[in-house]
């Protein structure tokens, strides 16, 4: 799976409260509505300006805080193609795979990417290209069983396709 899009840069410790404030998620399961508030806690313009396939490039501990799966889901519904970070909070990382939002741990890329750079991510090969700068970074691909869930489109699709979970 290859994802291509413009970079949106964010700093360290972007919490799920930044990604989707709690006050919205208790009211609805309508993700078209929730996606309008994606990243609202840090950039109120984000949901209006993000283009399909765009890639978030963040610092350490992206997605820290609450276990709300609404966080990766609003990013996905807002059109985000992947999140590349120096590191992820554990639950956000699992949730992203389970909802089919590609997540990439690539600490080296952070300094080498500027807002708006055109990026290309190859998940299976573990390669991130900064097409604007002509640089290439390698990252460790996900373990096979997680990559499979992600490429199936998340845990629901995975289960529907196979009739069981890959770890069973």
């Amino acid at each position: 799976m290859i994802i291509k899009g413009r970079a949106w840069k964010f700093g360290n410790n972007i919490s799920t409260d930044h990604i989707i404030p709690g006050k919205y998620k208790f009211k609805t399961l309508d993700f078209r509505e929730l996606a309008q508030h994606a990243m609202e806690g840090i950039d109120s313009e984000f949901s209006r300006r993000v283009q399909p396939g765009d890639i978030i490039v963040a610092g350490r501990n992206f997605g820290c805080g609450s276990s709300r799966e609404q966080a990766p889901l609003v990013l996905k519904h807002a059109g985000v193609g992947a999140v590349v970070a120096r590191s992820f909070a554990r639950i956000f990382f699992r949730n992203s795979i389970n909802v089919g939002l590609p997540v990439v741990i690539c600490p080296e890329a952070y300094e080498a990417v500027e807002q708006g750079d055109l990026l290309e991510v190859n998940l299976a090969e573990g390669m991130l290209k900064n097409l604007s700068k002509g640089t290439v970074f390698n990252f460790k691909p996900l373990p096979d069983f997680l990559l499979k869930i992600l490429l199936d489109g998340g845990l629901v699709e995975h289960y529907k396709m196979h009739g069981k979970f890959i770890w069973e």
Binding site: S15, D17, P21, G22, F26, I91, V99, K160
Partner: protein, 415 residues
């Protein structure tokens, strides 16, 4: 091989020795979702085509995050939970029963050696009972509800040894805030934080739960404490499962160790807008306060309410102060001890057991520019529903003292 507590519990669970980094599949002893996560879980459960909950006696729904509901959208999601719970015969705790992390141990779902998964990040609280407990998302919870199993990565462990006697105005909350300040908001990512030492041994179950509750604030998968006689006494009459004593081996390998000299600790606060922005109360003394909140899964237990009441007895609050017991059981005990009367006479607003203003949905959303001192676990921008408010996290003693003074003040004169 000598084992950490995390390795020992997971090894007992799957009946072979495990080591950090390994992926294991575990059978789940208790699974919980609340009104912030259950609706999405139900949706995923149905989308997967599942029709049966693996073991309804081990599955729990709690309405605590927006309880009672503040709007019709939330009410519709609550209704969806009630219908699902009824249809599948789940354990269901409705509005007013309390916070999920308080209810699970109170109602006997947590015991040493058990694996507890919750669709809530603070599920790590149950490590206080030597259960392996951690937070997951809604769709994974749907998988657990359907199959009773989930994969887990065996964590490395960080050992936090706490020794010495705490000063009278220093609490478990100050200990954990200190630890978070040292370790950082992502310093224990994916690890188990294992607390030990004579101070922890001396601590009540309420205090131990406070320590483990905030493990996730360091990025940890769980917090853990060995089970002992205190664990057994708490669980007696609550759960059917035997209360085993589970301790780590003394020569187990830890990735790192932090030693906390408890007798040297002073009251701490976590300052806006990051949990690891931890300072001594003395450094922010005099900060004016608009709202105080005493409650939550971190500090809404009987011991916390006793500490707050001791401060507030015979005094009047100078800023609006909201008190929410963590559960109905805690509320009733506080009522019978006269604590609720103390709060009311001091001018506090005493609310329904639940998460309250911690999650920013209702029951005390601050205004822009306002300062809140809360006994909760997160101070992210916008956490309490207003991105322009400033949240300080503190112990019930510091919070109650701030309520009386209308500003953050060191509570040293109180014994």
């Amino acid at each position: 091989m000598p084992q950490t507590l995390a390795e020992k519990i997971l090894s007992m669970k799957i009946k072979r020795d495990v080591s950090p980094g390994e992926i294991v599949v575990v059978e789940v002893d208790a699974a919980m979702a609340h009104d912030g996560t259950a609706p999405l879980m139900i949706q995923s459960f149905k989308a997967m085509g599942m029709t049966k909950v693996w073991d309804p006696s081990r599955a729990v729904f709690v309405i605590d995050h927006i309880a009672p509901s503040s709007n019709e959208g939330t009410s519709a999601l609550h209704k969806m939970m009630r219908e699902f719970a009824l249809q599948h015969g789940l354990n269901f705790f409705d509005v007013g029963e309390g916070i999920c992390h308080q209810l699970l141990p109170e109602k006997g779902f947590v015991y040493p050696g058990g694996v507890v998964l919750g669709a809530d990040s603070h599920t790590c609280t149950h490590g206080a009972f030597a259960a392996f407990s951690t937070g997951i998302g809604s769709t994974e919870m749907a998988a657990v509800f359907g199959s009773g199993k989930l994969w887990l990565r065996v964590p490395e462990s960080l050992k936090v040894t706490v020794t010495g006697a705490l000063k009278s105005y220093v609490t478990a909350k100050d200990v954990v805030l200190h630890v978070i300040g040292e370790v950082g908001a992502d310093g224990a990512t994916y690890m188990a934080v294992e607390y030990s030492g004579d101070t922890v041994k001396e601590m009540s179950i309420d205090s131990r739960m406070t320590l483990c509750n905030m493990a996730v604030e360091m990025g940890a998968k769980t917090g853990l404490i060995a089970s002992d006689e205190k664990t057994r006494l708490f669980l007696e009459g609550r759960c059917q499962a035997p209360c085993k004593t589970i301790e780590p081996d003394s020569s187990a390998y830890y990735t790192d160790e932090l030693i906390v000299e408890a007798d040297k600790l002073e009251p701490m606060v976590s300052c806006p807008h990051e949990v690891d922005n931890v300072k001594a109360v003395a450094e922010v003394e005099g900060t004016p306060v608009d709202q105080v909140f005493i409650g939550s899964c971190t500090n809404g237990r009987l011991e916390d309410l006793r500490m707050a009441a001791q401060m507030l007895k015979g005094k009047k609050v100078k800023c609006r102060t909201i008190v929410m017991p963590a559960s109905r059981e805690v509320y009733l005990k506080a009522l019978r001890e006269g604590l609720i009367e103390i709060f009311l006479e001091a001018g506090c607003a005493v609310g329904v057991p639940g998460c309250g203003p911690c999650v920013g949905g209702h029951h005390g959303v601050p205004a822009p520019g306002e300062v809140v001192v809360a006994t909760t676990n997160r101070n992210f921008k916008g956490r309490m529903g207003c991105a322009e408010a400033f949240i300080y996290l503190a112990s019930p003693i510091v919070a109650a003292h701030a309520a009386i003074q209308g500003k953050i003040v060191h509570p040293k004169e109180v014994s």
